[in-house]
Symmetry: C2
């Protein structure tokens, strides 16, 4: 009996060189122009050889995980030679990992690993079948008495519930932080972040959809996901053991849901937050000078080159005008997981400190 087919793979792409340069290749003999779109190399025109293979080599890149795609005569194309993708509901890209020191938070280390659990349920609020992902830390034992604090971690617009693990590498980051004693052992719940099932579909008025999304998302989280988590996992009771944070749309959701439910969440984070209603103040009706004493942490961060940077400054100004004082971090970077992996690595160690 002959061997099953082994796919011929003549093109090596991406090729990461020892010095951090990366060569991207695509076979497209008929194309007129092929560009590489990479997070640090935008719109680089690739060169075609006599085999019809287009290529481009970058300067040395800092160790990180970069999203990229090819633009073939106007068509967005992922790299057919590369199985590492950045999955997304609207725009799938390829990814290249430029490896770095094992001390980088997203590098896989030889440490105990947590487990990812995917739960499926029918949402009455959103009228759809959906899922949520749960990270249990190394050593988690459902039959033991030990209970854990929980972080609800929300993805951005056009992501799904797997984004924080598959692209954000939240499980790897937590494994590393916990192994180094830099973060408390915690459960992380990554729900689907849409309150309305049509939010990622086309048509309709975007602003209307965003407002409906934010309102309903809170319902799916508080009334549907949290009860299932409380029932299925060894969760510590009380707001002091409960955190909520998210990126972009998930940042707005975390701030709106968290600050309006301080009886449920004492630790709140917004990473590059966006997607509020036009009347920002109306979404935070209860903020006042007593709010500072009600949360343990209100952590807000945004990249200097993020298109939402100005809006995050507006948010900080609003909070301060109400007598609320977040911990504010402005970092280098844009609106991407390059920034958000670092935010999670900076935020998680702050959580649940001082809580028995």
């Amino acid at each position: 009996m002959s061997a099953a087919p082994v796919f011929a793979q003549s093109i090596i792409s991406p090729e990461v060189h020892p010095d951090g340069r990366v060569t991207f290749r695509l076979k497209a003999p008929e194309a007129k122009e092929v560009q590489l779109h990479c997070q640090t190399v935008k719109g680089a025109v690739m060169q075609k050889d006599d085999q019809g293979i287009w290529s481009f080599t970058t300067d040395p890149l800092e160790p990180d995980i970069y999203a990229y795609s090819f633009n073939v005569d106007g068509l967005h194309v992922i790299d057919p030679s590369n199985p590492l993708i950045k999955y997304n509901l609207r725009n799938i890209d390829s990814q290249v990992h430029v490896p770095g020191p094992k001390s980088l938070p997203w590098e896989i280390n030889d440490v105990p690993h947590g487990v990812l659990h995917q739960h499926f349920y029918k949402s009455a609020v959103a009228s759809d079948e959906r899922n949520f992902v749960v990270y249990t830390p190394p050593g988690y034992d459902p039959t033991a008495r030990k209970r854990y604090p929980v972080l609800y971690l929300l993805h951005g617009s056009s992501d799904d519930s797997t984004a924080w693990s598959s692209v954000g590498l939240a499980n790897v980051i937590l494994d590393n932080l916990i192994a180094r004693g830099q973060a408390k052992s915690m459960i992380v719940v990554m729900p689907l972040g849409y309150g309305a099932s049509d939010i990622v579909k086309s048509g309709g008025d975007p602003k209307d959809r965003w407002v409906r999304n934010l309102d309903s998302f809170g319902e799916t989280l508080l009334n549907e996901v949290m009860p299932q988590v409380d029932k299925s996992y060894k969760i510590k009771n009380g707001r002091d053991a409960c955190a909520i944070a998210g990126l972009s749309m998930g940042g707005a959701e975390s701030l709106v849901v968290g600050l309006n439910h301080l009886d449920r969440f004492a630790w709140i984070g917004g990473f590059s937050s966006g997607g509020f209603s036009t009347n920002l103040a109306s979404q935070f009706p209860t903020l006042n000078e007593k709010t500072d004493r009600q949360f343990r942490l209100l952590w807000i961060a945004c990249g200097k080159d993020d298109f939402l940077n100005r809006q995050n400054h507006d948010l900080i100004d609003l909070f301060k005008s109400k007598g609320v004082h977040p911990t504010w971090t402005e970092s280098p970077g844009e609106h991407s997981f390059i920034v958000w992996r670092r935010y999670l690595a900076a935020f998680a160690p702050l959580l649940f400190q001082g809580v028995k």
Copy 2:
């Protein structure tokens, strides 16, 4: 604060019409020729409109889930308008779901759902970081006394450990079968099916790699995955509660590992099996007329139009020549998940019957 960006999505693709016809669309104004490659519609030439949008509408398709891609002047392209992909390490495709009656095994029903768990570990055998996926059935409670039989379910060449759940919809199929009382409640373990980490990479002699793969895969399963599963889940002891099955390469692995370890597995399935060594008989040295009494089920199936059909007949002939009599099913269809979802739905109900 303005709304976060909502992506413009002018192209609707695929569009499934009420009668089962499907329209595929791709915007590629500069392309000379665009073909649709779909499992039932091969190499259909698409037509371009004056907006540069290529389209093709099929005849009515039977309810199913079909893989497809576009060929744009020789370049393999997934559908940029469609988030439903068929992930694979060598060849990512798009998928279209033509919905059918809720009685179809892969349709999501309003029934209790199991949970998918993803475990990460360092393999000493394969010298890599890898994972395995575990399905626990509805009602599974790690703190209760009830123990479950286990099916080890193996993917094919170029798939990864998520293929049986994300493409094969094994969790949906099991949820449905269990809800209807057609299959016993069971745990399903879906490991990474490569014994050698370079099996999916390029270079080297394919046959050599396949043989090393098969030998080492058994070690990863028996010595690494199974002990972790036994420790982490409520698994019933003994061979009568332990099954192994797989598709294509995973079918070969199931037959070789299963039939050479009848002390561990009493239920064995090979779906469209391939990837044996050239000397087929050498991989089954212990088969004899007593073997039939040692397994509870040896279930072998292959599609009539599968390129491995001839080899599966050779396999059956070999087994019969040794006095071993598998349950042999020859079905319509090719080498694809359209066939394998049906095989799982036919195979799972046979498992663990008569076992207390």
